[in-house]
Symmetry: C2
Subunit: 733 residues, 2 copies
Amino acid sequence: MASLSNLYRDEPGSESRFGVDYVIHYKIPPTERAEAEAAFVQLIQALSDVGFSTEVRPGKTDSLLVFAKIASDRHLHAQVYRYRIQDWLYGVRSSAPNKDLEQYLRDEPVSEAERLRLTYLLITKPKAEGGAGITPQTGRWKYVDAVFPLHDHAFNKAWIKRWSTKSALDEADLAEIRDRFGEKVAFYFAFLQSYSTFLLFPAAFGLGAWLLLGQFSWFYALVNCLWSVVFFEHWKLKEADLAVQWGVRGVSKIQLPRPQFVADGEKQDPVTGETVKVYSPFKRLARQLLQVPFALVCVLILGGLIASCFAIEIFLSEIYDGPFKQYLTLLPTVLLTVLIPVLSSFLTGLATRLTHLENYETQDAHAAAFVQKVFVLNFITSYLPIFLTAFVYVPFGKMLVPYLDVFQLTAQRFTAEGKSIPTKEFEINPDRLTKQVIYFTVTAQIVNFFLEAVLPIVKRKATSVVQDVHTEMKTQKGGPSGLTDDPDEAAFLNRVRQEAELEDYDVTIDYREMVVQFGYLALFSVVWPLTGCSFLVNNWIEARSDAVKIAMSSKRPIPWRADSIGPWLNCLGFLSWLGSITSAALVFLFRDGRHGPDGSPSGIRSWALLLSILFAEHAYLVVQRVVHYVLGKLDRPGLQKERAERFSMRKRLLEEAQGQELARKEVTGPGLSGGEKQITREMLEEEARRESIHGHGSPEERFWERQRGAADTIEIGRQLISELAAKQNTTKQ
Amino acid sequence: MASLSNLYRDEPGSESRFGVDYVIHYKIPPTERAEAEAAFVQLIQALSDVGFSTEVRPGKTDSLLVFAKIASDRHLHAQVYRYRIQDWLYGVRSSAPNKDLEQYLRDEPVSEAERLRLTYLLITKPKAEGGAGITPQTGRWKYVDAVFPLHDHAFNKAWIKRWSTKSALDEADLAEIRDRFGEKVAFYFAFLQSYSTFLLFPAAFGLGAWLLLGQFSWFYALVNCLWSVVFFEHWKLKEADLAVQWGVRGVSKIQLPRPQFVADGEKQDPVTGETVKVYSPFKRLARQLLQVPFALVCVLILGGLIASCFAIEIFLSEIYDGPFKQYLTLLPTVLLTVLIPVLSSFLTGLATRLTHLENYETQDAHAAAFVQKVFVLNFITSYLPIFLTAFVYVPFGKMLVPYLDVFQLTAQRFTAEGKSIPTKEFEINPDRLTKQVIYFTVTAQIVNFFLEAVLPIVKRKATSVVQDVHTEMKTQKGGPSGLTDDPDEAAFLNRVRQEAELEDYDVTIDYREMVVQFGYLALFSVVWPLTGCSFLVNNWIEARSDAVKIAMSSKRPIPWRADSIGPWLNCLGFLSWLGSITSAALVFLFRDGRHGPDGSPSGIRSWALLLSILFAEHAYLVVQRVVHYVLGKLDRPGLQKERAERFSMRKRLLEEAQGQELARKEVTGPGLSGGEKQITREMLEEEARRESIHGHGSPEERFWERQRGAADTIEIGRQLISELAAKQNTTKQ
């Protein structure tokens, strides 16, 4: 990380952000200059209409940089106040903001994340709701390439420097991330942290198991499943807890509308009486059903590819015995590495289209639906190969291999005068499964790290170097777009131009990575108990490289809020549940040593296999309930905080009401007199009069007048009791 | 129901309740008269201390009847106000009660149920919380036999009369029940109603299936499972919905403390700062683990009994062929009918003790824990016999029968000179399963009905007749306990004395019945599709007989509140899930006609069986999620109501805050001037001065001062664009 400083190319001034809230990167395609210019005017007007100060500067070739800063603090504060009220109404905040704004903001100051979030909303939300309604890259704003805040270099550097020395993230670190990049990002790091901490156990235990129990130990499988349950249930609670501590519990209730949402009609909301744009849930349901064929397509395409490459590989590596074997065996790997990315990017595109088709009102719903589909894709690409080896190749290999002759025949076509190809007797390769798991849990992780973290930085350095040359060439004829920058802005503008070039940071990608990793641990680590160790190391680096990614290789993210890791939670649950099944199956198949059934299913008592699966699964379900119950019993700081807030709120309200109530209360003072009917002269007279008029009041009245007050009742009661006694004695004799 | 009037033996006056809120039945054991008398005095004092008027009258032999009525309406209103505030604080009510009490109570009058609930709380809750702290039959109040409200005969009669003619309960009926007997009872009837309505489908479909598909049809099984899922998920929503409509959503949060709770220490609540009595959750957890051995004991005892009776029966009915066969075959049935009740009452006692041991703080938690255990018991007694037939007798009969020779040998002992017993060749009886299911789903239900509904009434009539004679004898020497009743009270006192004799009504018993019934439908109806019809009829009667039970054969229940059917929900879920497994298994075993495997497991491909179970179960889980999702999409009156309330609340609060906010807002009026930095003479001078002092302000200031206001920005932007264009043209050439 020593190279940080020159990554940021710290010329004086590049540190400062010149108080800019958001930079708008505005493209001007040479062909459509007129439209672009018109739209530009609108842009500036829209911005200033909602109270932004603006500055414009030349961007890189064919683009402008518009700098926006909220004009007056009071305007910002009004926003803050308004949104905090909303939070309170939705039950996110337990107390309403204090009317005295100045005092209030001194008590609960505005974090940078909050400021940026609100200003972003001010820029993007529709005019109707008092925003500028600027939606990057869509509709009339198609020239607006991006709206992004500027990195805080000083902070980023300090942050990464600290981490590179620190072993784990503590509350303070998370709080910092939260204040800078918002809860959504903070939740990712919180998850990563507590997942990595939990990894310590499977790492240690896995090492022990590897040394003492070897592979495919039922005991390891058991403990591993148990661990995954505990982790899952723990996180569910931890998540809720963090949400409360960060004061974002229930923010998912406050939904951001999707600008792309298309209503199929308006109806008057029976509740609010407002006319709202609606989309029939049944139409959506119908479209959601498309997920089924989508999943099938994925299985067919990806599954087909993987399976066939798998077959070819087996043929070449374990049957074929001719020339160029060592080169040919690489063929399937090459095929996969080339085709998988192509196909999955195609399918991801399909998923995106499908999700758009489902046409959700809110951004969260949209994101969740998309994640579902992405998860299906990743499930296939990540786990299918191992599934094939474990549950097809190993048990049925010998049966299936004969069908691989097709390759032989096709191969013969190409060989001269179709002489048959030299082959060797097929033998199941018992190490294949282990090798594969190791590949996915170690090699793949490392490769991935390079692709994700190192490559971009290298790229960036290279380009930046090129650009330096470029700009120098230019600066003779002045400025990137032929205009000289003011000397004391140059450095600043340079860095902005650079940041404008970076991609957006997408947290879902990082989540996906972690979830898939968890999957390997839950599903297959029984094959190779060291998995945990590998992941532990990987994640230590992962946390840092992700930080670097956010800080240096991507635009600063918009600091959105979140109250959970969202749809990924279900994925975790699903994987940990599936783990109970696969582990059981693997343990059963390979119960006599790592060789397992030698490619012929005859050896396997399928009913026993199914029984063990059935058993394992239900054991899992029971254990999960128990763990859930037990963990639920523990008290947690966040929940405590919430209880405290609710309590104080109740107390306050009750005190307001109390006064009254006491007033009511004292009308029936305690003491024996309490229940007594006040016998006043009037009453007696009244009674007398009633008698004189009609007999003696109603039976009910008389019933209640027989004993005047408690004292009477006690007296009479005593008499009755003694009479009872008397009667008993008489009956005795 | 024509006999109603004389069931209530309507002498004039027995209709009226003399405005009594609660009757306290006070026992005076001859031996402990002194203590009883002392306690009596305390009782009356305690009552009058919290504002009750009291009257005392002789009860039946050796008992007093204390009549309590809340002394002043204002005192009652204070209570109402206080508890409604509490509801509001806990989010049960969305709006705080209006300060003007009179007006408020005119808007939201006090229902009879509410009045009775609050007065009961006033009597029973501890002195510390402002109650009289009277806990019947425990501690110093051990002479207080019962504290019960009086039935409203007029209402009850009308109620039952209406029902006996009506086909189904509508909202109005439920609302009435709710106002009289509280939500807890109302929820039972609501559940019964919607369950019965849902039964129409399996009844009709079952009939069709029975006619067309016969028994063990996979299609019936499929539809039946689907139905049970839909019903379960529907009820979950319906329940929440009712809770909202009845304004009790979340009352389960307001917990009633258990007087029997024993704390193992005090700790200061970190939240409220109060010292609260606590009981370590881990101790409790440890004790809860006792449920496992408890379940095992139940299985062993009951299971053992059932299994052995089952074996004997088979031996006698299908092997033994000697004398007295027809009588002997009754033996096992006799054994069961005698022993099962004994054993299960013993085990229920055990369950009660266990639950007390678990020592819960709140009544709900206690009840829930108890229900769990009861469910285990009922599960065994109700379903085990069928399980044995279906999954032991039918598939393994032939294998197991040889072991039944033990009976033969033992029998030989007793027969003269041990000559062997005449036996016949064992043949699986294919009708046994069907017969058994029919027995449990028809015969048992009818028997149960008589035991539960008819018998008590008959008993009651008999006793009441006897008592009449008794009392007449007595009245010569005056009154039941040797004292004459005032003539215009006599009738009233008589009825009170009668009601004092009745048992308490326990809704859990009725729930248990329905849940067990649902179980038969979900688990075994594939054996005999007519099950649905039988239940439909049964429930029509059940609803009425339950009503009669509440109205006439039990004390009026304390009208507690509830926001769901509580722990029974889980039982339903469990049964409907288990149903998917059993149905699949049954269909598989009996797929070739109702004879199924003829007692020898050889015929069964166990892996296929397991596979079909595995498949069915997971299909079930998927379907459940889908149904849950789909039903969740539908809008419901209750939820709508809630949304409406929340909305109006938000609106009100927002309006309060709004004024302010607008004030804030206008400081940044819209229009181009909006973002503009006000350029005043002062500013210019200031600027000039700065220049003269030190160069030209900070780079940041200068950055933002280059373009004064949006108009400037636009201007400069335009220039830049055109320059861009110029550059492009030059580069083109």
